[in-house]
Amino acid sequence: MWRFHAEGGRGPLQANGVIEVLLLIGGGVAAGLFGSLLGLGGGILIVPLLTLGFGLPLITAVGVSLVCVIVTSGAAAGVYLERRVANLRLGMTLELFTAIGALTGGFIAFLVPERFLELLFAALLGYVGLTIGRRRDADPEPEIDTSGGASGRADGAGNSVAALEARLSAPGYRVRRLGFGVAGSLVAGVVSALLGIGGGLVKVPVMHVVMGVPLRVATATSNLMIGITASAGAIVYLLRGGIEPYVAAPTAIGVFLGATLGSRTAHRIDLRVLRGLFVVILLYTAVQMLLRGLS
């Protein structure tokens, strides 16, 4: 619960200013590193860092976090597309609905009380912490459906949906239950703009568990989508003066460095230890955010 303040006027290389910049870069590196190693956007850590650590209002932290989410997406999505892991067609189809959700959420965020957002964020942190804590090392892939399955409807509207699902599919898996994907994407968009996260926490399970997309493809496609999701929300924040450039820039640079470092060191790190540490941080942060919301 600390915050640096200037003692006196501004001058060249003022110590406090330099320390603040370094702290923001360092926090961004940690968030980007954790995020890339655990397959999450940095937003889940950036918002608590800026609110609990630097004492910024939640709405400011959310605006900065959305910028960081776009940075994370830009750094990773290009690589996933080059390696042909991300499904561009599926991502673009679903991100139309995440963008609509994010546009809506961006305006709701300026209307609801900050306390409500803090309690919502505390609930999200607790949920993510418990989910990651219970996650097994290798989640089973969904059963591969090559027969058409739910997409095999041959009449009326079902036929056109089935045709679209077939167009969005790729070798080894067939996209199904597109309607659930659309609904999940709308929810992900609203949550993203309200809380400054990428929304991958919603999109990846929906694509993987409900739509039958392999986890690796779902994660990569989500990474591609969060750029547009966060961008639709970030535009609202930016034009309404909700993004503080002096805070956003060093934090985003740190996130970029951390995400780049994470993608290069992932194979050398024991993810079980990292996951345990991350769960502790998330749950501790959830309690702090809850206390802040209730105070």
Binding site: P12, V71, L81, M92, P245, V247
Partner: protein, 135 residues
């Protein structure tokens, strides 16, 4: 992966479309990579100028004002580089959609072209509504 997917779900006569899809992905990937390095560079220059100028990030930040970017950059003020960097950040994903729209339209994929156009319409609506509220 998706290019292969197209081969398996489309008749062989659609090979040209599949090739277009592959090139769209490649172009989009490069745009994202170049865009990311460009906005990170702008933000880095802005941050360096902040440090040199003794700016405290947790103090009051300048209000986002696109009309001052040129003047601020010409006078090597941090705010100009940071504002331009932030515009590049939010514009890069939209640029990716625009490139996809052009690629799909040229490849004759009307459905994907329409989806791309609708995404851009939602982003344009975000800008219009946010400017309306800010005014």
């Amino acid at each position: 992966m998706n290019g292969d997917g197209l081969k398996s779900h489309h008749p062989p006569s659609d090979l040209a479309v599949a090739v277009d899809e592959m090139s769209i992905e490649r172009v989009v990937a490069r745009l994202l990579t170049v865009g990311t390095y460009a906005f990170v560079a702008l933000l880095a220059v802005g941050t360096a100028l902040m440090v040199v100028g003794g700016v405290q990030p947790l103090g009051a930040s300048p209000r986002f004002d696109p009309s001052r970017i040129g003047d601020d950059i010409a006078h090597l003020r941090a705010a100009g580089f940071l504002s331009l960097g932030l515009i590049a950040v939010v514009a890069t994903p939209a640029g990716r959609v625009l490139v996809s729209l052009i690629g799909y339209a040229r490849g004759g994929e009307r459905l994907m072209a329409v989806i791309s156009a609708l995404i851009l319409a939602v982003i344009a609506l975000s800008v219009a509504l946010a400017q309306g509220f800010a005014a």
